[in-house]
């Protein structure tokens, strides 16, 4: 825990929180809507595996367009803006500094939403770039990049002018994430999303580098940076060993950034070899993060009961699982079986919806009452949200991972016809669709809490405005008082 944070309380946590109210409502509100959009699109994509003809006559809703649109809506629409919102709050709190330029993130949030709208629409009308996780067309990419830079300016300003100079482990993770995204997004967009594409397999290599650095490294930096702030706060114990945390951070950025090239990729052999080696070494930060979390959480005596603590703890467990799955699918021996199967899809969904989304939900439920100066409108629904999402993630991801292994084993045996190898996955896909449905229900509850809270606040604003208009002017009152005296 940042030791000085408590001594500075007088300086005004409330002032800091107030400066974040409008930017965070804008970021969280848009994120909640995109999460629902992404999950609905994902559900449509999932249903197509039970009934291939479902909505197949509508070009915009063919599987090949809906599936990437769903993934991107969850990643770009929900994960990144919601993560940035949480990041702004954590940075401001750790810096003991009200947000610098608070209107800039508000503008950026709206810009970001326009970017995601253009991107999602672009994919659905067939303007996807065709590169996984970078499908958004050029116009959307430019808008998203500009919006990110605007938020980064506000975040970096808050960090630069911080009143509390000491740095805390969360700072490293979050600040590195702030640098990470503009670099990888500009590189990938300039090389893959312009008219002059590089030749041949250079395209997928850059695509893999980008996807790994966004979906694995960036989400890990923001998610774990957030968890390392809230876990000690809620459990009331300091973060176990900040030396370990520094070690975890450095190994994560140095090894994690090299992962992503599949073992069988049709490229010069040194590329997949370097990636497989890096993936093996990435076990180190994953285990370090697991150990730090266990040491911080155990023995705190705080029970979570479906609250933010539950969300964040479950999120870290999902991070460790998804990280180990990632390493397993990068290892040459196991990737022979797991590559090109549902296993990889299960891993990314666990990363997005299990790890990142849960930590963000937990953080948002912790932050919202503080910035709004009142309890959540439906605290019980927030608890229900936890059980729906946790159960939904397990039901969604575990069957898919098993389906991937079964499918991979069947595909390894040429005596099994392709259609039969594909057939073994169908019953698992059926269960996973139930999980998707539960996650979607949870997301609706999340959105409900945010929007009712926003509306109540807006209503209060309007009321106070009316009251201010109706109230007699101060000078007039003073004059009247004087007249009475006379």
């Amino acid at each position: 825990m940042n030791p000085n944070e408590n001594t500075f309380v007088a300086c005004g946590s409330s002032k800091i929180d107030a400066s974040l109210r409008v930017p965070l409502l804008a970021l969280f509100g848009g994120a909640a809507v995109w999460l629902i959009v992404g999950l609905v699109l994902g559900l449509i994509a999932g249903i197509k595996f039970h009934a291939p003809e479902f909505l197949s006559t509508i070009p915009m809703l063919t599987y090949g367009r809906v599936a990437p649109a769903a993934n991107d809506a969850v990643l770009y629409g929900f994960c990144i803006p919601a993560g940035l919102g949480v990041m702004l709050w954590v940075l401001a709190r750790l810096s003991q500094m009200p947000l610098v330029l608070p209107m800039v993130p508000v503008v950026a949030a709206n810009l970001w939403n326009i970017g995601v709208l253009i991107g999602t629409g672009g994919i659905l009308i067939g303007e996807s770039t065709g590169h996984p996780w970078l499908e958004y067309p050029r116009a959307a990419a430019v808008i998203l990049f500009a919006a990110f830079l605007l938020i980064a300016v506000s975040a970096a300003g808050t960090f630069g002018w911080r009143r509390e100079r000491a740095l805390y482990p969360s700072h490293w993770f979050l600040f590195a994430a702030l640098l990470w995204f503009p670099w990888i997004y500009s590189t990938a967009s300039l090389l893959l999303n312009t008219v002059w594409l590089p030749r041949g397999v250079v395209q997928p290599v850059i695509g893999w580098w980008f996807a790994n650095n966004l979906v694995f490294v960036w989400l890990a930096l923001v998610g774990i940076g957030t968890a390392f702030y809230f876990l000690p706060k809620i459990s009331g114990k300091p973060l176990a060993g900040s030396g370990y945390a520094l070690f975890a951070f450095l190994t994560l950025v140095f090894f994690g950034a090299w992962c992503g090239i599949p073992a069988s990729a049709p490229v010069p052999a040194w590329l997949p070899t370097a990636s497989a080696f890096a993936a093996l070494l990435t076990i180190i930060p994953i285990l370090a993060i697991a150990i730090i979390t266990i040491k911080t959480v155990f023995g705190s005596g705080v029970s979570c009961q479906g609250g933010p603590f539950c969300f964040i703890k479950f999120g870290v467990v999902c991070f460790v699982l998804s990280g180990l799955m990632y390493v397993a699918s990068a290892c040459p021996q196991s990737s022979r079986v797991l590559e090109f199967t549902w296993f990889g899809f299960a891993q990314t969904q666990l990363q997005l919806l299990g790890f990142f989304a849960l930590i963000i939900f937990g953080a948002a439920y912790e932050i919202l009452p503080k910035i709004m100066g009142g309890a959540l409108p439906f605290p019980k629904l927030a608890k229900l949200h936890f059980f729906l999402t946790a159960g939904g993630v397990l039901l969604f991801v575990i069957p898919l991972a098993i389906a991937g292994v079964e499918q991979g084993k069947a595909l390894m045996n040429p005596a099994i016809a392709f259609a039969d190898a594909n057939g073994v996955t169908l019953k698992f896909l059926r269960i996973s669709t139930t999980g998707q449905l539960l996650i979607l229900l949870g997301a609706l509850l999340f959105a409900l809490n945010i929007f009712v809270m926003t509306m109540k606040w807006q209503l209060a604003l309007v009321k106070s405005l009316i009251a201010a208009v109706k109230a007699p002017l101060p000078e007039a009152t003073a004059q009247r008082d004087q007249e009475v005296k006379v």
Binding site: E53, R199, V253, A257
Partner: protein, 293 residues
């Protein structure tokens, strides 16, 4: 770390290293890749796509076909195969006796068991693959030993692996296969079969069109959605259009109507038929099949 500069430094070094390794280096190494030549042949590879097939790649991209189909074949290794194609005046029994006489050679020890078993099960028909080994030198040696007038044998290099055994291609995919693809559509999931060689496996354009319009009409247990929106259903004019799909009763349109492919469907099929990664290259050698065993 006590100050922000240290974080910036760590992040820039970490990401910069991976940027140099996984973005800059591959661009320098492969970005200038040029045509390569087919093994044991003056031909260059790959062929530039026709205009229609290049447009078809954009239909493939726009509809996200890569969400379910890969365009990448993997292999486990390569093996040498010795195939007997002619015996001249000799009888199969002579060949058996001759080959068995070679067994005394120390160098052939690793393969004598396999050879004996193969020869035992041979009914005398030709061509006959009498040895499959991962050791090309031994195969070469035996091939030279049996080189007597009239007897013809062939040493073939065969790539092995589950993908290849499924008939998805004669060799693994290599960088050269994607030289002209803009964008490259490798794919990451096989909810449908691999398409790296679909132009070789299913060269019939009509089959491809039927499959796009009604997958179940040609593959009964297919899970592929239909792409009916790439086709037009219209009233039959003076006569049935020559390009109208020949659908059976279950999938046919109402009486008096015909189904014709739009330009997009034809382009997509032209692209699919252009997917032919079936020539031997230096980095992925194999012996093309001339005489079927």
């Amino acid at each position: 770390m006590k100050n922000g500069i240290a974080i910036v430094f760590a992040a820039v070094v970490a990401l910069g290293a991976s940027w140099c390794g996984l973005v800059l280096a591959p661009t320098l190494q492969l970005g200038g890749a040029k045509l390569t030549t087919v093994l044991n042949s003056p031909d260059t590879y790959p062929l530039q796509r026709t205009g229609e097939a290049s447009l078809g790649l954009q239909i493939y991209r726009a509809n996200g076909c890569a969400a379910c189909h890969t365009e990448q074949v993997r292999q486990d290794g390569i093996q040498a195969e010795l195939m007997l194609t002619a015996l001249g005046n000799y009888q199969p029994e002579d060949f058996k006796a001759f080959t068995e006489s070679l067994f005394v050679q120390q160098a052939l020890e690793p393969v004598t068991n396999a050879l004996a078993i193969n020869l035992k099960g041979w009914n005398g028909s030709l061509p006959f693959v009498f040895l499959t080994t991962s050791d090309k030198e031994i195969a070469d040696k035996i091939n030279q030993s049996i080189n007597v007038p009239g007897v013809k044998s062939e040493l073939r290099i065969v790539a092995t692996g589950a993908d290849l055994a499924r008939g998805w291609g004669p060799r693994r995919s290599v960088a050269a296969d994607y030289l002209y693809d803009q964008p490259v559509q490798l794919g990451r999931l096989r909810a449908g079969p691999d398409l790296a060689n679909i132009g070789v496996r299913q060269p019939d354009a009509n089959w491809q069109l039927l499959h796009l319009y009604a997958p179940k009409a040609v593959v009964p247990n297919s899970t592929m959605p239909s792409f009916k929106y790439l086709f037009a259903v219209r009233k039959i004019g003076a006569a049935l259009a020559p390009e109208a799909l020949k659908l059976n009763a279950e999938f046919a349109p109402a009486a008096g109507y015909e189904v014709v492919p739009t330009a997009a469907a034809k382009e997509l099929v032209a692209y699919l038929l252009s997917l032919r990664a079936n020539v031997p290259l230096y980095e992925a050698p194999f012996t093309p099949v001339t005489t079927k065993p």
